[in-house]
Every structure is written in C-alpha cells, then in structure tokens.
Amino acid sequence: MAEGTAIATPGLSSFLKSLKTTPVEPSVAYLISLLKRRQIRNSRQCAVATTALLLRVVGEFKGKDSAKLVERIRQVGRRLTSAQPREVVVGNIVRRVLGLVREVVEDHLDAETNATSDIGHNSQPHNDSLSRPTLSSTISTFSPLKHATAEPLDASTHQSETMSDSGELPKRPGLLTSHTSYVPSSSAPLVNSLFGLFSHPDTPSTSNTPTGHQSPDNKGMLTSLNLERLADFSNSKFDVKAEVMDGIRELQDELDQSDDLIAANALDHIHSNEIILTHTASTGVQKFLLTAARKRKFTVVHVETFPHDHTGTHSVLLTGKNRDHSGDSEEDSFKPLRAAGIQVVMIPDSHVFAIMSQVNKVILATHTVLANGGLVAASGARMIAAAAKAHQTPVVVVSGVYKLSPVYPFDIDELIEYGDPGSVVPYEDGGFVDLVDVENPLYDYVPADLVDLYITNLGGHAPSYLYRIVADHYRTEDINL
C-alpha cells in the first residue's frame, strides 16, 4: 500500500541500485526493512531482491569452508524470512541457494574421489560438511533408478554426522528424508523405484526438464558443467564460491525466463474460441494469454480483484502496463490483450459464479504454491476456484517454480496477510472505523483439490505431483531454515 508512484520512496529498484555500492550487512538490513515496510512485495520482486542479495553475500564471503558458507547463507536467510514470513518466496530462494552450495560441494567431492581417490578422502575432513558415500557422478546425474541402490541408512547417518560437524540446526528425523529426499542423493528405494516406474521415461534427469536445450534449471546445467570440467578439475584449487555464484546467476536467469517458459506451454492449454477466466494483474498470466493469442482467438473474462489489485488490473487491461510495477525497470511492458485482438471482458468479483457456467477454463496467478498442491493467491482466488469446482470447470494455475515452496500449510491463517481495511471501508467513515471490525485479507488459500493443473516453467503438473518438484529443488536439510 505504501508505495505509489515512487519518487523518493525506496523499493526494489532502489534496493538493486544500492546493492552495487553498499556492503553486505547494510544491504541485508535494508532489504529487511523494505520487506517489513512492504515496499518490496509480490513474489517476483522478493525473489529478485533475495537472489541479488545472496549473490552479494556469497560474493563477499571470505574463506573456503563451505560449511561456513552454508551457515552464513542460512543466517541471512533466517533474518530475511523472519522479517516477513508471509513472503514465502524469500525462503524458497534461500533454500535453493543452500541446495546449490551443497550440490557444488558434493559434486566436487564426487569428482575428486573419482579422479584421485586419495585426495578425495583426505579432503573430506577439511571440507567437513556434506560428504556423501562415494558415488560415480556420471551415473548419479542420469539415473535416479540406479542411484536408488545407495543405502539410505548410510546416507542418513552421514548426514547426521555432517550436521554435528558444521553446527547446523537439528534436522528432521530420517522418516521425512526418505519421503522427500533429493533425487541424486541417496533416497528411499521404495519411493524412488515405485515412482521411477512412471517418471523414468518422461523425466530422465533430476531436474525434470521437459526440453533439455533451454533448461533454466541450475542443477542440470551445473552437473553438466561439472562433468565437462571433470577432467582438469582434480588437483586445482576448488572454488566453491565461484561455482555457487554461477549457480545463483543461473537462478537469476531462471527468474527472468520463467514467465516466457511458462508462456511456451500456452498453446497446449488454450484452444480456439474458448472462454478463459482469470484474475489479478499478473504479468505471468498476461504473457501466457498473449502467447496463445498469437495463434488463436479466444475470449478472456477478467475478474477485477477489487480492492487490492483493481488498479493494476485496469491498467494491465488498458495499457498492458502494471502500474504497481512502474518502479521496476526490468518489468518489460507488453501490449495489452486487446491489441492482440482478444476480446476481454472485465467483471466484478461478485459476478464470478454467474459467469462460470460459460467459462471453459480458469487460469489463476499465484502468490505462493505450497508443497501439498495448495496455493496462496490474491484474495478472491478461492471463490473463483470454488465456483469453478461447482461448474466442473478446470482450474489451471500458472506459477514459476521459484514460487513453489516446501512449506506445508499447517496453519493457513499464518500464511494469509491481512491488509489495510481502508481499501474496503473509507477511513473517513468514523462510525464504521469505531464500531465495525473490518478484515481485509490480501490473500486466499486455495486447497489442492480445487486445482486441476499447475503450469510451471518445467511444464504441466498435477497438484499431487508437486511434492516431487519440491523434492527436486530443495534439500531436506534446508526445509527448516
């Protein structure tokens, strides 16, 4: 609420600018205050800010001890997430980067043990974290099935050792590990093999990348990178930092491209003469629809999303520019759907149920996607989803993988942010202010059973499949920051 047409108001762009000149600690504090003041909001802005900050944190990290690096990132991450626990994306990015560090270290260890096993063993006590039983990395990257042969027990004991070594926080017990463990590392044979029966042909690599050539997924790239380097890697000094920074940059690329990658799926989901219902001024959804609009003609029914996003919605519909993002220089403006020859009908939120019977498909933008397949989206989303359910209209959720969180919604109330009731009831109305309690939730929780399909930058997934992507992207040991 606090930001407007910013002149002096701090925000994402001012943060990114200051990041270049300011040392790390003030930058962390600055981001925390921006998050607290809600001057950076939206998943995307949070994600961009967090990645940029972590890149800087890693860049300025001194020393070679990867355990310390993990601890440092984790410490920054904890401060950021506690500043604004409802911006789950911040935690996601931190976890992604942590996973990245672990991966780089593990790959390195693998490589070393492969090349010169002596050095590999010697170096283990030095890089005293994250050692795994020696595996041939060539196999591990490509076949989760074969990989499953590694004994889970062994791995978990190893992990607990490393935990105590690096002084990390206590982790969940092994039970959970076996369920959501990370694929290339040793995981439970049962889950993996059962699952592998189906997933193997479709998803050959850990990253589940449907199209290998433009994979934005860092891990795929990283591992292949490592493989290339494998030959001359052995004795040279191993630079964790540089690799992690490369990884973070890839993560940044992923953030940049995710909208386009999602949009690439548009033609599979939107057909001619369909009536599509959507809400909010989400850039991702707009791009998605625009991509489809190039080839097909359909009708869009846009729900106004009053009172939080209606100005944004209006401006997106009229000009294609999201007013709220005007401070964000990266936000490339695009043509409105109307210009692409699509008929757009804007309706107030109250008309959703009435019009739902005519709608062929609902496309929702999200704030956060949770590991159980539920999602947190702009308020009104649940009503739309429920109406869609009543009319058996398919609900498709468009979301970048970065919004997917390993968090389970144990307490839904905690996830939902309540805003200023002033946008619903004017503050001028003294009687109202004094006598009526107005609640104005900014977000809705939509349970998984109301959603039919998720489209991420990795492709389309059923809600029940999301835990899998979570497992691919986050390490179990990082789930509790």
Partner: protein, 714 residues
C-alpha cells in the same frame, strides 16, 4: 551512512531532474512537544518512548520518515533527553549498518517551547533546503511524494509559499480526530492555500470564527474545514524558521505561528498551503484520547503496514491470528482464559485461568492472575495484575501492580511502579504516580508518602497533582469519553496554552527552568510583575538578544549597545534591563552547565567576560545604599531559586561578582540583609550556601577597615 544517501539520491535524479533535488531531504523530529498531556507518565519517561501497541512511539515516526525517503534527521530533544538519546543510539536507526538515514543527530537545547526550539534551529543554520517538521509521535503510512512534489511545484512558482501542511481528511465524527480543541482550516480550494486558522473554541472559549471580509472578496471560493486530522506533518522551507525568529512571541506552531502568519499576510506576504490527503493513515498521538484511538487503529490494521505483526522493532515476534489478535512468541495462556479479538499480548506474559481479555494491549512479561477481566486497557511491560481484578479502559504503566480483587475504573492512569494493594477500587479520575516532583521545592508539597486512601495499606503511590491544573485546566484528554472532560480540555490543552498565558501576563518571562520537571510556565518574573506592565516586549527581546550574543560570544560593548538601543526604544526601566541581563546570563549558565562545564567555569565564562556590561547596568557605585546592586542580586537569586543547584551557582556567581568588583562588598551585605532576599522559603533556601561568602566578607571587611578601606574607595 553515505552509500544509502547516494543511492536514493541517485534514484531521485532521473525522475525529477530539478536542481532542488540535489539537496537531501531533511527532517526535524520534535521529540518533546513541550506539553504535559501524558502526565503522569511523562514525569519519568519522555513521551516519544511511551509504547503504542508495544512499540515506542518514535519508532513510528522514524518509519514514516524512512518511508518518505528522508536522509538527514535531526531529533530535537527536550525533557528526558538522556533517555531519548540512549534509546535511539541503541536502535537500528542510529547503527550505521541498518539505518536508512544518512545522518541522525540530536539537537539539545534549553528551549521550553516549540517556538524556542524553532528559533534555536534557525540560529544553528543546519537546515539548508526544504525540510519536514514532524513530532515524535506521528503515526503514518503516507507516501509523501505527492505532497513534496506539490510543495516544490508551488515553490518553484512562488518563493513565498513557505510551508505545506499535510492533513488527513476524515469525516465529521471520528475517534482519531482531535476531540477537545478542534482546528478549523479555511482553505482556498483553487490553490490549496490556507487562508485562516483558528482553534475551536477560541481563546474566549467561543465557537465563533471571525473571517476577514477581504478573504471573502479576494477568493472566489473558500472551504471552511473541520473534518481534518492535523497530523503535524509540515513541509517547511528555511523561511519558516526565519519567520519564527522574527516573532519572538510565537510559541505554538498552529495557534501561534500559523494563526499569526496567516493573519499578517498583508505584512509578510508569505503563504501557507495545505495538502489534504484522502487515503492512507496519518495521525498524531497528541493526547491520551488519541493514544487510545491510534492504538485501536493500529490493532485494526488501518495503519497497515504499521501493525504489530510487522515487528518494526528488532526482537519483536508478533503474529497475527484471526480477529486481529497479536501474540508474540512465548506467551503463556491458561487453558480456559479467553482472548477476545483486537488484543495484543507481548512476550513472556502469562494469563491465568478464567481471565478474559478484550480490546486490550498488554506488554511483555506481564503477570495476569486468574479470573481477571481486562477490557480496553493498556498494560505496559512488567505489570502485574492480581487474581480477580477488573480493569477497564485504563492505563497501567511499566511495573505497576494491582493486588487481588482490585477494580480499576475507566479513565484511571496508574504510572510506573505504583502498587495498589488488595481490594482497592481506583476511580476513573485518578492518576496515580510514585514519581516525586523534581520541582518539589517550588511546589512545597512533597508527597512521597503513599496515599493509603487511594492505593490501600501496603500500596505505593499517590495521586498525581498537576500544578498547572488551575492555570491551564490541564485535563488529560482521557481514555474515556466524558462530556465534561472535553469541555474542560477545551480550554487549554497544551503548549498552545503557553501563548495564552503569555498574552495574559506578558511580563512573565519563562525562565528556562528544567523542562523535565514537566509543567508550569508560571514564571518567577511575577515577583515584580506589577512594575513592568509597560514595555512588555522588552523583557523578551532583550533577554533573547543578550542570550544570543552570549552564545555567539559577542563583546560586552556590542551587547551593551544593543541593550541600550532596545531600552531606549521601549522605554524600559533599569530594573527591567537588569532582569533581562540576569535571565539571559542564567540561561546561558544553565546551558553551559548542561554541556558539561563546572559551575565555577561557567560562572567565570559568563560573568567574567562581561564586567563592562554588568558595570553599566548598576549605577550606584558611589552612593552609600547600593539599591541597584541589591536589586541585581535579588533578581539573580530569584531566578536561581528555581534552578537545579541554584544555591551553588549563586555562591560562585556572588563570589565572582565580588571578585570582579561588580558588586561591592557593601552591596553584597546589603543584599543579604534586605528583606527581599529572605522573604520566601525558596529564596532562603537558594541563598543558604552563600552564607559562607557573606561570613567571609564580614570578616575581611573588618580587617580591611583596619587597613584603610581601600576596597570601598574604588
């Protein structure tokens, strides 16, 4: 922290492209509004550190400034300066790691009204460009750019547009609006110019607004608005400070400054504008009523994102639950206690079985017993409430404790550390404190004994008596809406009342007695007020000019020249001249001592350098009865009587004066013997220490008389 500064400046540049942008946005926080509306709490804590929804008030102000992109912040401290400085320097705002401000400085001064503070600011010359003037109790999530842009645009067109007031429009009835004295703004809507300002009821206690007919003929359209929260956010230019300096009698920013500047438009040609906003939150916690309503607004999230669960202060961990219940981590609730909506509970607080809490804000580490009912109350940190108590719409400050089965009726204020014993009922009009008035020698009513009729046997605390009650009808604009309360509070609520007082008894000089003593502006000048009804302005002007000269270290001769011209122009008496000198000297002394000089050094510096000046105000060297010298000493004594360590200052000043031969020994002895110097209790008290000097003088004069009285022949 320069990088931050650069950053936001850099961010500014591409969009504005104006030269004026180059100057960083500065802000002045008036941490002490020089009022007593929060008594008795402000006896022990500065107002800006009182907790509002468990967060010190000044945090909100800083948030607002950070939000507005302010870079340089000057905090103008008044009472309890050490506490404010202590707090801020340990907060995130001061640490160079996390502060969004490039500069955060404290300004200390001896001023005791906003007018003095503004004049002091003017002399310091630190504010170069447009600056924000806010109080240390502003709560706002308002983005300031539109107001700033409008201000700058006006300024570019017309250099005389010196100030923009940011006002929040609310309806006719609103809890957060000022209830007692209601400001009325007359605005020309075509250019947002404020044409007239009046507070209702006005000085005469009437609800009439008299408008200059010229206003009606000059403007095609005027709005007379009362549906406004004056949140005390002003965008000022340095001209504003100059205007303050030009007008020594201005004390209050609205009633004094604004009213007069608007009235004298013909004279000074300056215009003041308004920026009325219709969205976002902006309010001032200007009295207890506002405290109550702003707390409610914050809990109900009207000020979002300034909510408890934003955890503005480091270390807070509030979480929002359904129905606007905010709980910090580590709250212990008994299984069958009931927490109703709109409640905030801080860390470590425990609530016993069967207690019911609603609409209340409870601080950290409070102990709340069983079967307690708390409704609409504000309970600060470390308070304890015994089993079976009922607390409604009251404030319990830190470490206050209630025994079992107490009843606190709506409107009661229980200050720091007060303990109430079992079974007592505290009526709504009670304000109970245990702070001794520091000014007690002035009051003559030290009541450190607990008043058992109020707090019960074994309790500790006594009814707070505001010395100004008679003068100002200082009614704490209470938590409870009571008809008569508002009527009383209408009369004078605040610093505004200072100006009323002054206009009525204009010879009152406001000696700068410690503001921390919170209170009265009654002056010692009244000792001889009858004598100086004429030339009323002289006192003020002369004292101020001498004081300024002292601060800047001008030569005696120059001061003398200025003083003489002032005296001539106002036809002031010699007595007045002496009084002006005494007042300004003592003020300077106090300031020097505050900044760390010892009494002796300060005296030597102030008196020692200005022998010439002192000589020129006493003309009785050659006569035998030293009337002028006695007069001077009496004035000095009277002024010091109200000051901290006045007795020792008097001793060293007297010694110095004798040493310098400004006061002759005879004069000193005559003073000692004069009835004026020993009339009152306070006067006797302050001169007690000087006894040793007199004894010495008596002795030496005996000796000297043997030696031929060389001293006296001079």
């Amino acid at each position: 922290m320069p990088p931050k500064g650069k950053k936001s400046q850099a961010a500014n540049k591409p969009k504005s492209g104006e030269d004026e942008r180059e100057a960083p946005l500065q802000a002045v926080i008036l941490a002490d509004p020089f009022e007593t509306r929060f008594s008795p709490f402000t006896l022990e804590r500065p107002r800006c550190l009182l907790p509002l929804a468990n967060t010190p008030l000044i945090e909100y102000t800083f948030e607002f400034l950070a939000n507005a992109g302010v870079e340089d912040v000057y905090v103008y401290c008044g009472a309890h300066r050490e506490q404010v400085e202590e707090y801020i320097s340990h907060s995130k705002w001061k640490s160079h790691l996390s502060s969004p401000f490039a500069k955060l400085e404290f300004i200390q001064s001896t001023s005791h009204s906003i007018g003095d503070a503004m004049r002091d600011l003017d002399t310091r010359g630190i504010l170069v460009g447009d600056f924000l003037l806010v109080y240390g109790d502003v709560v706002s999530n308002l983005p300031l750019e539109p107001a700033l842009a409008a201000h700058r645009a006006r300024r570019a067109k017309d250099k005389n547009a010196i100030m923009t007031m940011v006002l929040r429009e609310v309806g006719t009835h609103h809890r957060t609006k000022a209830q007692g004295t209601k400001p009325v703004f007359v605005i020309d809507p075509s250019n947002d110019r404020c044409l007239h300002f009046e507070q209702m009821p006005n000085r005469e206690g009437k609800h009439f607004l008299s408008l200059d007919p010229v206003l009606l003929s000059d403007h095609r359209e005027i709005d007379i608005r009362q549906d406004i929260i004056d949140c005390g956010i002003d965008i000022c230019t340095p001209d504003v400070l100059a205007l303050w300096s030009d007008n020594f009698d201005f004390q209050a920013p609205r009633k004094g400054f604004l009213h007069s500047v608007l009235k004298d438009y013909e004279l000074n040609g300056k215009t003041i504008h308004t920026h009325v906003v219709t969205d976002h939150y902006a309010a001032r916690v200007r009295n207890l009523h506002a405290y109550d309503s702003v707390s409610k607004d914050i809990v109900s999230r009207w000020a979002y994102p300034l909510c408890p669960d934003s955890n503005l202060v480091q270390g807070q961990s509030y979480r929002l639950q359904k129905g606007n219940i905010y709980k910090e981590e580590g709250v212990i609730l008994a299984r069958d206690c009931i927490i109703h909506p709109k409640t905030v509970i801080g860390r470590g607080t425990s609530v016993g079985d069967g207690s019911v809490i609603s609409d209340s804000i409870i601080g950290r580490h409070c102990q709340i017993g069983r079967g307690v009912t708390i409704q609409g109350a504000y309970i600060w940190d470390h308070a304890s409430i015994g089993d079976g108590c009922v607390v409604k719409k009251a404030v319990l400050a830190n470490e206050a404790s209630l025994g079992r089965k107490c009843t606190v009726e709506p409107g009661a204020l229980i200050s720091y550390g007060v303990s109430i014993s079992e079974g007592m009922t505290i009526r709504g009009e009670h304000r109970i404190t245990r702070a001794k008035r520091k000014r007690s020698h002035d009051e003559g009513c030290i009541r450190s004994q607990p008043d058992t009729s109020i707090v019960g046997i074994g309790g500790y605390g006594f009814e707070f008596e505001d010395s100004d009650e008679e003068d100002e009808d200082e009614i704490v604009d209470g938590l409870v809406t009571r008809g008569h309360l508002y009527n009383l509070s209408d009369l004078a609520l605040s610093a505004e009342s200072i100006s009323t007082l002054n206009s009525e008894s204009e010879d009152d000089f406001e000696p700068s007695h410690q503001r921390s003593e919170a209170g009265s502006f009654v002056s010692i000048g009244s000792v001889d007020s009858a004598a100086s009804q004429h030339a009323a302005n002289f006192d003020h002007d002369a004292a101020a000019s001498i004081y300024d000269s002292l601060v800047e270290g001008h030569e005696s001769a120059n001061i003398q020249l200025e003083l003489t011209s002032l005296r001539m122009s106002t036809n002031a008496s010699e007595h007045q001249v002496r009084r002006a000198v005494v007042v300004s000297f003592v003020k300077r002394l106090a300031q020097l001592m505050k900044s760390g000089s010892s009494v002796r050094d300060a005296v030597a510096q102030v008196f020692g350098q200005h022998k010439e000046l002192l000589d020129r105000i006493m003309f009785d060297k050659n006569s035998s009865s030293k009337v002028d010298q006695v007069d001077f000493m009496v004035l000095l004594q009277a002024d010091l009587a109200h000051r901290e360590s006045g007795d020792s200052i008097l001793l060293s000043a007297a010694t110095k004066l004798v040493e310098m031969d400004v006061i002759e020994e005879e004069g000193m002895v005559q003073w000692w013997e004069s009835h004026k110097s020993s009339d009152e209790e306070a006067m006797r008290k302050v001169r007690a220490k000087t006894q040793q000097l007199i004894d010495f003088l008596n002795e030496s004069s005996e000796e000297e008389s043997d030696d031929g009285e060389e001293e006296e022949s001079e």
